[in-house]
Amino acid sequence: MSEGGKKPAKGQALAPVPPDFDEQTYLRLNPDVLVAVAEGKFRSGREHYEHYGRAEGRLAFTPGGLPRDRVIITARPGQADAAPRVPAGAIDAVQLSASGGLYVIGWVNDALDRLDAIELYVAGWSMAFSAAGLARTRRPDAEKALGLQQPHAIGFWGFLYAGQRLMPGKCNLVMRLKSGAELAVIVSIEPMEDLALRGVVLQQLAGGHYPGPSYFNAVAAIEAGIGEQLVDFSRMLTRRAVSAPYIERFHQPGRALSGSVIVCLFGKPDYLILQQALLARQARAGAYEYIYVCNSPELAERLQKDARIAHLTHGLDITLILLPENAGFAAANNLAASHARTDRLLLLNPDVFPKAAGEMARHLELVASAPPAQTRLLGAALYYDDGALMHAGMYFEADRCPGFAMARREDLTLLRVEHYGKGAPAEDAALLRPRFVPAITGAFMSIARDWFETLDGFSEDYIFGHYEDADLCLRSLEAGQPAFQSDLRFYHLEGKGGARQGQHEGGAAVNRWLFNHRWGALAARALMGPSPSHEALQGDPA
């Protein structure tokens, strides 16, 4: 390739020019040189020949004119572009959050000449996104404008968490291709709130138009870097959210407590007062304290009122923990657990409540009487409103996606969490049999407080919610304590207890990637399918 436009290093010897060199013929044979000369990069064809053309083996003359009816090669392959072509491309946005989250999105037509890096030069700082770490998406709008016939993922987006405050402002942004060709543009960096930026990025992750099976490729897209950056960024936001909670307790002093019910609220305030009414009818309802931790700050006033009414109406011991931002399921539960007053934590979703009037009492009896191995981490049978079983423990399956749809990626395998008995008849004896299972849902999770603390609670690496329950169960399994599925019976109006938006789908995709990353190998070895081979799960506890 010609070093179009660059001067030779000092002292480099110039090749002699043959006596029959003809400027006109050289420029005609090498149109890229003609262009480079026209652009002023070289004074003449002769200068180019001296510095590069001869070394590149370019023809400088055609003896007797061109032979007829056949092609002659006038330069070595790949070296015939004195001025590499500027790619077509555009930047949609560069956004920078207060704590240093950096997001770039745009497109570049690199169908033939692949993208190498996106470089940002800003007053005071610079950075380059490697193309390998970018997510690639389809851009039907640009594809149409370019008249591309073959689908190619010309869109890209990237995210990086710098972990420090950076100044926004004007940015020289360079899209650099493997050939060295580049497209340079000047963009204004848009300053953003941290939470807003996380929302934008997660929404893009969930909503981007990925080639091939879209969901797989969304997950695959973050594997080479974005995933880790997002987890890092989100962990910082989570720590910030739980660092300054508002806590209010509604109770009468002097009550002996045996268990701590922990409920994480999100989006829907009604569930506090509804769940309190249903739990209050339970035998031994007063032996529990009820800790409601809320990830939706906009519900604060409403929840304070409702907790006060519920306490006045039912007299149960309620602690309300209000967070200033959404800290996600894991961190909110960890925080609530740290405020519990008993040795037994019972994590319930807001849309979970007992199927019969004695279940809350039975839970306490079970915890008091069964062997510790069967109560340290305890699940329940959960039912839909329609009467069918919804959950009798969880196991793992794998989804495979062939790599050919994903441009040079390897085949992708993603773990999928499945519930035993989803949709099964209510009284399926095999499903309801108390037994050790690979995992249980966080919708109902009874756990000895010391064991929860030994495990360091839920991993706060998971964004918003999903997979942190299975993660905790697998860490427990690795530490020698598999989850135990009991025959306690609760309703779970699955998915009705919170409010989800696009960014939560993005969070779920990150979590799936993370879960897969952490547990894929163990699952492949010993945890695949409804009857996994893991030795801790063998045998009958009875």
């Binding site: 009604d270 007062i273 509804l274 009414a277 249903l278 209050a280 009818r281 409403r302 009122k305 409702d306 006060r308 009414i309 006045l312 109406t313 039912h314 007299g315 849309d351 409540f353 409103d385 329609d386 309703y491 109006l493 009705k496």
Partner: protein, 426 residues
Amino acid sequence: MKVLIIAMYHPELVRGGSQQVAYELFQALRDMPGIAPTLLCSADHNSPAMFKSGARITGFDGRPDEFLFLSHDYDYVWQKLPLPLQAEAFVDFLRRLQPDVVHFHHFMTYGIDYLSLARSALPAAKIVFTAHEFLTICALDGHMVRKTDGALCDKASQVRCHQCLPQRSPEEFFLREHWMKAHLAAVDLFTVPSRFMIQIFADWGLEAAKFRHVPNGLELPAPVRETAATPRNRFGFFGQLIDAKGIHVLLEAVTILRAEGFSDFSLEINGENMHFASPQRRQEMEAFFAKEAAKPLEAQHVRFNGGYHHSQLAARMARVDWVVVPSTWWEIFCLVISEAWACGRPVIASNKGGPAERIADGETGLLFQLGDARALAETMRRAATEPKLWDKMHRAITPPPGRAEMAAQYLDIYKDLLGALSLAAQ
């Protein structure tokens, strides 16, 4: 014995059946020796002038023992009031009053959880709940009429309710049922004005043994002095001009009779609140009345008289022979039947709910297939033409329950409940 009667709205601020019955009971109990009744009625945005700054409960118009519960921001979806200050004021009110019996005639504008709240404030008091409709079961105004096809609903379920109110999920209705039942558990005894309701509540899962049947009693108009008019071909409608009252069925029956060439009858429509009817039904009624009024006098069969005060009732009743109750919902009790009977008017009614229970078909009145205009037309034609039918039914009418009779029944219930309490204490 101290009795607290709780009603939705004061009947003198907002008219309606349940508050009327609650007020009749309050008045009757006040006349009984040894009974100290108190009335707590809600007021809301319908009566803004009743609100006093910072007050949650206040008096009413200088009347002893009558109070207003100042409700606002009510949550009609879950039937609850999201105001802790109101809840605290209610608890204070109950504790100060220390009633032996708390008798709810409604929970709307307070919240279904006020049943539990009353139980929590007064653990020893007896709680009586009178159901004047099916609002605990049915989120669609408690009418139990299927929005899908207008059929009467005899069983709620999460999917069936979702079909009537598609914006709410089946799970929400499942939760609603549990939420309602959680608070109904605080009730010691339920009463209903008609027996058929007990079966519907029992099918829904409440214990039938906890229900008593207490017909609604009213101060009734004096009997009408009869003229020896024959034939008995004058029909009358009394009540609100809302969809569920079925005026459209009655007007269609008139059209059918005329098409059959039968025109020897008259119909008088007495009532108001046409603005609460659906736009379609309202338009139908208005068009019918306008077309009728444009006819020559001798061709007019239907006359629209508009609303009436209680004092005008007897005079209006005297102008008709039969009272027609063409309701298209589970008419719960039908105070109009009591009023018609008090005036000696036999009733022609839809064959469901309270009317079907109260009227012996062919003896004290005539029933027709609910919603079926052709069946009503046939029944009206028979009533207008069959000799001696009216006289037979007029004589068979039994006097409807009055206010004192109703209060006596309630008093027995209170005594039973408190007797059970004192027995338990021994």
